[in-house]
């Protein structure tokens, strides 16, 4: 038992206190910025592996981009990737980054269905469906719930059954062989329910877009409530995406009533709830 406490103690504080302002380490490629410098636009479009770049004027579709960075290496004066991970939105069009544009990507508030915030605002339970996903977005969705990112603190969690879920998070380009299972899972989810696409493969098919092994008809007939771009989507992109969909862009991390060693914390100016006063927990 003591060993357990020792391990616990050695971990220190692992969670990211504020997921809305956390900085990502290293050279993360997030939202790109495209300058107005003149370049050989045909060459630029041609080098992109997923044809995510359009010419005249230059624009990058984050729903197709694999964030490989090749365009920025080839044309460093034209394209630059920032570390801004808040790339989630609910309108496909907003994933299009245009020349000269350097503003945060936000949700189109008028497209957020009312019941999402009124019914699911404080507690969002999701069922994940991997439909040809390569297990990298799945890895990041799992990571979003680990002790570092701790999405559970906002009441956002994954359930074991669609019957207990408020929506689906789909990863992968939707393989033909998963199309029916996806339909059935969606039908098994009670209303109101949301659809979230995580990762480039899910949003556009990504590098698999032209494959005859896909069947994306589900996405043609259903409205998507949230796009989480990335290859894979970063946990901070995922969490912030959900928070903005739920209208909780300034979330408070609930204060922990316990310190790691089990004593009540003493914080200046902070009143303990009455039922806890004078008690050892």
């Amino acid at each position: 038992m003591l060993d357990n406490f020792k391990i616990w103690y050695h971990q220190g504080k692992q969670y990211i206190p504020d997921v809305t302002t956390a900085q990502v380490p290293g050279i993360f490629r997030g939202r790109p910025v495209i300058s107005e410098v003149k370049v050989d636009e045909e060459a630029l479009c041609a080098l992109c592996p997923t044809r995510a770049i359009q010419a005249h004027p230059v624009a990058i579709d984050l729903g197709r981009c694999t964030f490989c960075g090749e365009c920025a290496f080839a044309f460093p004066k034209k394209i630059r990737f920032t570390t801004d991970y808040k790339m989630a939105t609910n309108e496909r069009e907003r994933l299009m980054i245009r020349e000269g544009q350097d503003e945060p990507i936000t949700l189109n508030e008028s497209l957020v269905r009312k019941e999402i915030r009124s019914v699911l605002g404080q507690s969002l339970k999701l069922r994940q469906v991997s439909a040809g996903g390569d297990n990298s977005c799945e890895l990041e969705l799992n990571a979003a719930g680990n002790v570092n990112f701790d999405m559970g603190r906002f009441g956002i969690e994954f359930t074991a059954s669609p019957r207990h879920a408020d929506g689906l998070v789909i990863t992968g380009p939707v393989s033909r062989n998963m199309a029916e299972a996806l339909d059935i899972t969606y039908a098994a989810t009670p209303d109101p329910k949301i659809i979230v696409l995580a990762g480039t493969d899910a949003i556009s098919g990504g590098i698999f877009a032209d494959s005859p092994a896909l069947d994306r008809s589900f996405l043609d007939t259903h409205t998507v409530d949230l796009y989480l771009p990335g290859n894979p989507a970063h946990p901070l992109c995922i969490i912030n995406g959900f928070l903005s969909l739920l209208g909780r862009t300034r979330p408070k991390t609930p204060k922990l009533p316990l310190t790691p060693l089990g004593n009540l914390p003493e914080r200046a100016g902070e009143q303990l709830p009455e039922r806890l006063q004078g008690r050892q927990v």
Binding site: Q11, P25, G132, N135, E138, M178, A213
Partner: protein, 520 residues
Amino acid sequence: MMYVSVKNHQRIPFSDIPVTEYGAFRELILHELMANPDDHCVQYFGVPMDGGIRLIVCVARDSNSDIRISSCQASSENTYPSCAASKPALEKFEREITELYNIQFEGHPWNKPVRYPWNRAMQEQRMEQYPFYTIDSEELHEVGVGPVHAGIIEPGHFRFICNGEQILHMETQLGYQHRGIESLFLKPGSVLQKATLAENIAGDTAVGHTTCFAHLWESLCGFEPSAQLKYSRTLALELERIAIHTGGLSAMCADIGYQLGNSVFGRLRTPVINFFQQWCGNRVAKSLIRPFGTHFPFTPELGQTLSAMFDRYEPDFLEMCHELFKLPSALSRFEKTGVVSLEQAAEIGAVGVAARMSGLCRDIRASHPDDLYPELQHTPIVKHHGDVYSRTKVRKQEIEQSLAHIRQLLTRIPAPEDGLSASAPEVQAPGPYPHSGHAFLHQSPAPAPGMFVLSLVEGWRGEICHCAITDPQGALVCYKVKDPSFHNWLALALAVRNNEISDFPICNKSFDLSYCGHDL
């Protein structure tokens, strides 16, 4: 000679592969190519050719690092006596050939569909009509699980035949993740597109598959990678192993309800994958490995960051392992659960962790080494019980071993300039790539015509095999990918027999197999 011997990713003219008739081909496979216990079939596939199907078999001999290749011409009009009937390790290869080309193997123990690919020969075969084994009994019952599972995990269907709580038999139906990757490789396109395909084969093995592709492609093009490239690939492979094994240990703890282990291993994976992000901008190392060069050479500064990270990782990792492996409640779930014997593992041709856990020493890093592995003198970690405990222990010890390899590598970081394409001439602004070093994909050499290459890499799961054939113009006519899971799914089916069905999750997680890598 009825076969040709090559080394790992050595390119040979396709015409050098002898073509025989099936009878002799079968004799050759059974009595010569697979005669030794260390012989294992790394690839056996068909290619449409000369009005029929050319069957090509590639068997690795671990003792002398040879890969022996032979072929025969077959047609869907004939039926052929099955090799799998006496060498079960070939069972899935034959099923795949039947599924794609309608070539029938007589005497195959269970010639069922493998993955329902979009280009299967019999389009009328449907996912929902998979011919599961059933038992006509009033005492036994069947349990179907999947394709959608309870966790955030990929889809696959498991069908159990149970006697009460006890599993008598389990059958796995896969194919849900099929994305047609092998056919996409054949489409005309840039090297970057192919590299992107390779890194999306299995996103948890981006380094493994992309390295395997890079070796193959460079060999096809006659390109010799620089010291920096070899260095960063070796380092990345070992880092990927540490990252995914750590995450695997976390998930194992979750499956036995051990919250502390789940949290601690889970958070220990974070700095490792964050290091990938610091190195190349992506937490699963997508974009890091490219043929001919790298945009992200490994620098001494990165070396310091990595070294400092592991100095913090290691004590916490060891402390947690120490606790886990002496915890009676954990051991009682791990020990003697999901046993695969050495004979079974050898018979079905298990690879990677799924082989080494039962005493079968199979590790490409030792048997067909490449990059810096010859210098690291890698000795595989082998356990003997074949149970969940052995698999967990192999993964734990492989983390420690990879740490030692990385520490050794960190003492000799090559000059970063080395990694940027050596052969690329200076490119003048204002065209693309004003810094010459980054143009390596843009100005890469073309694949040689009429060639055959087979490339093997030991990913964290086990042996990855990519195989390519070019036509007289140098275009790809065949690109074949094999993830280690292709062999190992059968090991899981054997492991769960006679176990309680409640132990299935822990068995499944201990193998940690890939669905998308299998279904491609």
